[in-house]
């Protein structure tokens, strides 16, 4: 330090009133490191590390420490979200900079100090094919002027970074409107984007994977491995569990050989992370209607013949559920997934309650048209399974007959009626919301219209399957006859499969664009003739009901069919919160993947969350956003509000959220 202080003295003699005369090396290491923590950890820090040896060492220490801090923050759930919204930033000179439009199901990748975003679905029924670069150093969006053969507009394509290129494959786009009812358009285009030359190159190779979307891809050395996806195979749209490998330098596809018969079930939307040069991990995914997976598979690529291995997932109750529409990424030894808060799982709220509040809220008083029916409680609380399956529970019945105990009217209740009643009860809360909405828009609307929704649902799901109500840890007791799948179920299953494949209302025979057909459905109960009503309002409502069906079926059928790999873990019972909006935020789920490669019994351990994984400043609940790892932080971008997917304009987001270790803001 003597030399340095000598320098300082030297400065004193001819110092100017600017910092130019300052010699920062005067300061001790820890202070320098402290100063550097205030720098954005991207370009500026890199510059600092190039200044002199001492600074280089300090910066290296700092980077290592921030990585550790992030990991620690992940396990302790002591992190904080910060939002970056371009609208608030302006360019030099006050002119607004161009910024990216909101999107969902886009591809995002990080290369050097920038995040590259490609494509995705827009707020209207189109997809993008633009490439944007977000400079993390300056926190600015820029649009590289790219030449070459542009990819088609698409979403859910896989994009990875390799050397100084981006490799893009697959994707979907909305089908054209005429002729109507076309299936999804899937792509099998392979594009390379040269970052240095800003050029897109289309590559064709002889053997090419089928067109697909929703697959996942990672880079291992000089190979890109893709798995799964929603594909067109022999002219049929189907989920797949195939693996394809692209030799990146030679641009040649090949398929590996596998040993053994176990493979992950066909799926799309899964999270795939690289665990090393010869290992990759696949978690989650969706196998179509009623099949949302939470399992994990390890692909071992060390030998010539590859091998899948199913991993044990521990602490599933702390795990993320919908890992097909929610992004995940790897942070050193952890896999981080951002998803819906577990205590308020939105559409699942109905499923978890044993008591359904049946009051109609502030809307028009809900009538009881079901009094026309043979005496059954209109709003029967979902039977509390824990009570041994009896129809107990003092549900707040409003006008309906109070359901007597198990032995009482149970004899009079066929399984169908009970199922109906259950379903109706479950739907009630949802209807409250819809009621509110419709009350505001259609004052004249008779609430009779709401009841047919339940009628219609029973129509669809004719088999009187017991509603999967509150799911206790013990296997649910089903007092009803075991459900027998009928045509309605198959039809519904098909429909749901198409639905879940990213909004395919075009090829749904039952749901044409204007959802007219719904009104023409013959209802089982003649008492509910549906008078005409405003379309848009009911379309929303119908959509919500339909989504709810999907979710209910997902839970019910997955438990019923229960393939070995498809375990949708029943969520613990949570009391319904009066304020749904409060929990409409993203939650963090962290999973420990450090032991997978070392131990002989590899397993995935979900880390127990605190406060349900809701961290300060959490962003809104969106699906199909992208999550990438930054330096000591995680970057979440884009996404769409799920409920708006059926509206004319979807509510998409273009803001970036950074998840980082909190520090004092100065």
């Amino acid at each position: 330090m003597d030399a340095c202080s000598h320098k300082v003295d030297g400065e004193n003699d001819n110092c100017e009133a600017t910092l130019a005369a300052v010699n920062l090396n005067v300061l001790p290491d820890e202070i320098l490191e402290f100063i550097f923590t205030y720098l954005p950890p991207y370009g500026d820090l890199e510059h600092c590390s190039l200044v002199c040896k001492r600074w280089h060492v300090i910066v290296k220490n700092l980077v290592r420490r921030s990585k550790l801090n992030l990991e620690k923050g992940l396990t302790d759930f002591r992190l904080r979200w910060e939002v970056f919204s371009q609208q608030s930033a302006n360019g030099i000179g006050g002119a607004p900079l161009s910024f990216i439009a909101g999107r969902f199901a886009h591809s995002a990748v990080r290369q050097d100090n920038s995040m590259y975003v490609f494509g995705g679905g827009s707020s209207s029924d189109t997809t993008f094919n633009d490439l944007w670069r977000f400079d993390l150093t300056h926190m600015r969006w820029a649009r590289p002027v790219a030449t070459g053969t542009y990819p088609s507009p698409k979403g859910s394509a896989s994009m990875v970074a390799w050397r100084d290129q981006l490799v893009l494959f697959g994707g979907w786009r909305y089908p054209s409107l005429h002729p109507p009812y076309q299936p999804w358009c899937l792509f099998d285009e392979l594009h390379y984007y040269d970052l240095g030359k800003n050029r897109w190159l289309l590559r064709n190779s002889l053997s090419c994977p089928p067109p697909m979307a929703g697959h996942s891809a990672t880079v291992h050395g000089d190979r890109m491995v893709i798995f799964g996806g929603y594909q067109i195979k022999d002219d049929v749209n189907v989920n797949s569990n195939d693996t394809w490998v692209l030799d990146l330098p030679e641009q040649r596809w090949w398929q590996p050989l596998f040993v053994g018969n176990t493979r992950p079930s066909p799926r799309y939307g899964q999270i795939q992370v690289e665990l090393g040069r010869n290992h990759l991990l696949v978690v989650g995914g969706c196998g179509g209607a009623n099949r949302v997976y939470t399992d994990a598979w390890l692909l071992d690529m060390t030998r010539d013949v590859w091998c899948w291995k199913s991993l044990n997932v521990r602490n599933k109750r702390f795990g993320a559920v919908h890992m097909w529409c929610n992004p995940g990424c790897k942070v050193n030894n952890y896999l981080v997934v951002v998803g819906p808060s577990p205590n308020m799982p939105q559409d699942f709220q109905m499923m978890k309650q044993s008591r359904v509040p049946v009051v109609g809220g502030r809307g028009p008083p809900p009538p009881n048209p079901l009094q026309n029916l043979p005496p059954r409680g209109l709003r029967i609380p979902v039977p509390d399974r824990r009570l041994g399956g009896g129809m107990g529970g003092p549900g707040q019945n409003r006008g309906g007959n109070i359901r007597p105990g198990v032995g009482g009217a149970a004899a009079a209740l066929g399984p169908q009626e009970q199922y109906l009643a259950n379903r109706r009860a479950i739907l009630n809360q949802h209807m409250q919301q819809a009621q509110q909405f419709l009350h505001n828009s259609n004052v004249n609307n008779n609430n009779n219209n709401y009841q047919p929704r339940s009628g219609r649902l029973s129509d669809l799901h004719a088999p009187p399957a017991p509603a999967p109500a509150a799911s206790p840890p013990s296997p649910p007791v089903r007092p009803n006859a075991p459900p027998s799948p009928a045509d309605g179920d198959v039809d519904a299953a098909q429909r749901l499969q198409r639905n879940l494949a990213l909004r395919c209302r075009d090829n749904e025979p039952r749901l044409p664009k204007r959802f007219d057909e719904l009104y023409e459905d013959p209802f089982r109960m003649a008492a509910f003739n549906v008078p005409t009503r405003s379309r848009s309002a009911s379309r929303d409502h119908n959509e919500r009901i339909r989504r709810m069906e999907e979710k209910m079926n997902a839970i019910r059928n997955s438990r019923r069919s229960a393939p070995a790999a498809a375990q949708v873990e029943p969520q613990p019972l949570r009391a319904p919160s009066p304020k749904r909006l409060r929990c409409n935020v993203q939650s963090l789920f962290v999973c420990d993947i450090s032991n997978i490669l070392e131990s002989s019994e590899p397993a995935l351990d979900w880390v127990e969350y605190k406060n349900f994984g809701v961290l300060k400043g959490a962003p809104d609940r969106l699906i199909l956003s992208s999550l990438i790892a930054g330096n000591g932080e995680l970057i979440l971008f884009g996404g769409v509000h799920k409920e708006t997917l059926t509206d004319i304009t979807h509510h998409v987001s273009n803001s970036i959220h950074f998840l980082s270790v909190p520090r004092d803001i100065i």
């Binding site: 320098k7 300082v8 400065e11 004193n12 110092c15 100017e16 009133a17 600017t18 910092l19 130019a20 005369a21 300052v22 010699n23 920062l24 090396n25 005067v26 300061l27 001790p28 820890e30 202070i31 402290f34 100063i35 550097f36 923590t37 205030y38 720098l39 954005p40 500026d44 510059h47 600092c48 590390s49 190039l50 200044v51 002199c52 040896k53 600074w55 004092d664 803001i665 100065i666």
Partner: protein, 148 residues
């Protein structure tokens, strides 16, 4: 120098002597803000007479005065908001027309004293200064760091 009766355990004032011999008298409340070092010494000295002088050999009188000024202003802030402390810091710097190396010495002093807030504010200022440099050459030039 103020004296207090020997019976009182808690001295009301604290005397700090910097390396240039100047003795600064600070209120006890303020002294607590002056960081861990002083607090530690005061804890050890509890029960002794208040007119004991706490030596601070590493700190200049000028710097001490600045720090005391800053603390006086900041301690009135309700909730220790960092942005305002930074502004206060900057204002004080401008008022004193401090030389640039003054900031460095301030940082060293606050590190010695163990004053977190102060160090944070100073570090942030320096970080912003570094941030304005576009590449490492500029940093070298501005801050007179030798490249090696």
């Amino acid at each position: 120098m103020s004296t207090t009766p020997p019976e009182s355990k808690m001295p009301i004032f604290v005397n700090l002597q910097t390396n240039d011999g100047v003795v600064h008298t600070v209120d006890i409340r303020l002294a607590h803000q002056l960081g861990e070092t002083i607090c530690g010494i005061m804890r050890m000295e509890e029960g002794c007479y208040s007119f004991d002088i706490i030596p601070l050999p590493r700190i200049n009188g000028e710097i001490m005065a600045f720090i005391i000024k800053w603390c006086t202003l900041v301690q009135d802030l309700e909730d220790n908001v960092m942005t305002r402390s930074k502004e206060i810091f900057l204002n004080l710097l401008k008022k004193d027309m401090a030389q640039p190396h003054f900031l460095l010495q301030l940082l060293k002093a606050s590190d010695y004293l163990g004053m977190e807030n102060f160090t944070a504010v100073g570090a942030k200022l320096l970080a912003e200064a570094i941030n304005t440099c576009r590449n490492s050459e500029e940093i070298c030039y501005r801050f007179n760091v030798d490249r090696d």
